[in-house]
């Protein structure tokens, strides 16, 4: 049906490049690394990973988390069997804050979070 319709890329008003993204450690994703999975229109589930032993990658991850929360993304982390929504991010301590006590803090290096963009009721 509509899959047969083809569009010219430049009509989308974005620059077109027929190349793949290189983001941080994307080329060799280590499944064991912490990070954030982002729900994405073109990817389904886009994985951002960082190596906790590499300060530049940790710094980039911190910037990304801060930016996402600023833009209204809902970030979810698992703690035990619970899924919890991140309320804030402590840049100094590198922890997700999910409650009001120190026990309700999750280090970014010990979890894989999932981020969802702002949602609209359908």
């Amino acid at each position: 049906m509509m899959r047969a319709v083809h569009l010219r890329p430049h009509h989308l008003n974005f620059a077109y490049r027929n190349q793949c993204i290189k983001f941080g450690t994307m080329e060799n994703i280590e499944k064991s690394l912490p990070g954030i999975d982002v729900l994405n229109t073109g990817y389904g589930d886009f994985e951002l990973r960082f190596d906790p032993n590499k300060p530049d990658e940790v710094e980039k991850a911190k910037q990304t988390i801060t930016d996402m929360l600023k833009r209204g993304y809902a970030i979810f982390v698992r703690q035990g069997t619970e899924t919890l929504r991140v309320r804030k991010f402590d840049v100094e301590k590198n922890v997700y804050i999910i409650g009001s006590t120190p026990a309700e803090e999750v280090p970014i290096t010990e979890t894989r979070a999932t981020a969802v963009g702002r949602s609209a009721g359908g």
């Binding site: 899959r3 083809h6 009509h11 620059a15 077109y16 729900l39 389904g44 993304y73 919890l84 009721g121």
Partner: protein, 250 residues
């Protein structure tokens, strides 16, 4: 002079799904993490009001190309004429399965109107919107879902497109469905009754369809995470459709 190279499908011309993938790649470099919704000819793109590319909801395609590279102009639908009536009230009639509206003309005289919503039209429009979902995106989303729910539930999802989970907090049962709103049920030992259908899409959706701008299993993941991590926000952000309305998708 040599002949002009023929434009190629997949590079010079792309499908909606290919455009979605390519735009997502480009936008990731600019730290735009969610990708970009793709407008579809004939469907209304409804975006979350604070979304950074909100202007896309006004975007209209002007031309498209068939598989031989032949250009086709897309006629823009004329804007609807302003109505001389204003809606005073409307309600859903369960018995006749339609919406009854009371309208008023400029002189203040009231009239009634009957509005039909067709389930089949919802289904067909949803199929049209499905052309924007890259298959690989859905496959990745399915993998992600597998990591979030028990194996037996995931098997049921693969087989039927549905799975259920009871909220630890409210004890409400949620029936998550691929490509349809989530049904909230109250269950006890003797009976169960539906509360409503919860419709919510990250970033946006196509009007009068069940399709979000993200692939269907991404919508399911968003519903599941919001239910688990922020149930009250899930209810607050979702549209709550009565279960017998076509929009509920039952």
């Amino acid at each position: 002079m040599g002949e002009e190279a023929q434009p190629q499908v997949g590079t010079d011309f792309v499908t909606y799904a290919q455009a979605s993938r390519q735009l997502a790649e480009i936008q990731l470099e600019q730290q735009d993490w969610s990708g970009v919704p793709i407008p579809v000819v004939g469907l209304k793109l409804v975006l979350e009001p604070r979304y950074r590319h909100i202007g896309l909801s006004e975007f209209r395609w002007k031309e498209c190309y068939d598989e031989q590279g032949v250009r086709h102009t897309i006629e823009e639908e004329p804007p609807p004429k302003p109505s001389e009536f204003t809606t005073v009230n409307s309600w859903w009639n369960e018995r006749y399965q339609l919406t009854i509206a009371v309208v008023q003309d400029k002189q203040g005289y009231a009239q009634s109107r009957v509005l039909f919503e067709h389930r089949l039209a919802f289904t067909i429009r949803t199929l049209e919107a499905a052309s924007v979902w890259p298959v690989e995106a859905e496959q990745k989303a399915v993998q992600k879902l597998a990591s979030l729910i028990p194996a037996d539930q995931f098997e049921i999802y693969l087989l039927t497109g549905h799975f259920a989970e009871i909220s630890k907090r409210s004890r409400v049962t949620y029936l998550f469905r691929k490509g349809r709103p989530t049904i909230a049920l109250r269950q006890d030992e003797k009976s169960s009754y539906p509360l409503c259908a919860l419709c919510l899409h990250p970033i946006g959706y196509y009007g009068d369809t069940w399709a979000g701008v993200m692939c269907p299993t991404d919508d399911v993941i968003a519903h599941l995470l919001m239910m688990r991590g922020s149930e009250e926000k899930f209810w607050a952000n979702a549209n709550q459709h009565p279960i017998d309305r076509p929009a509920a998708g039952v």
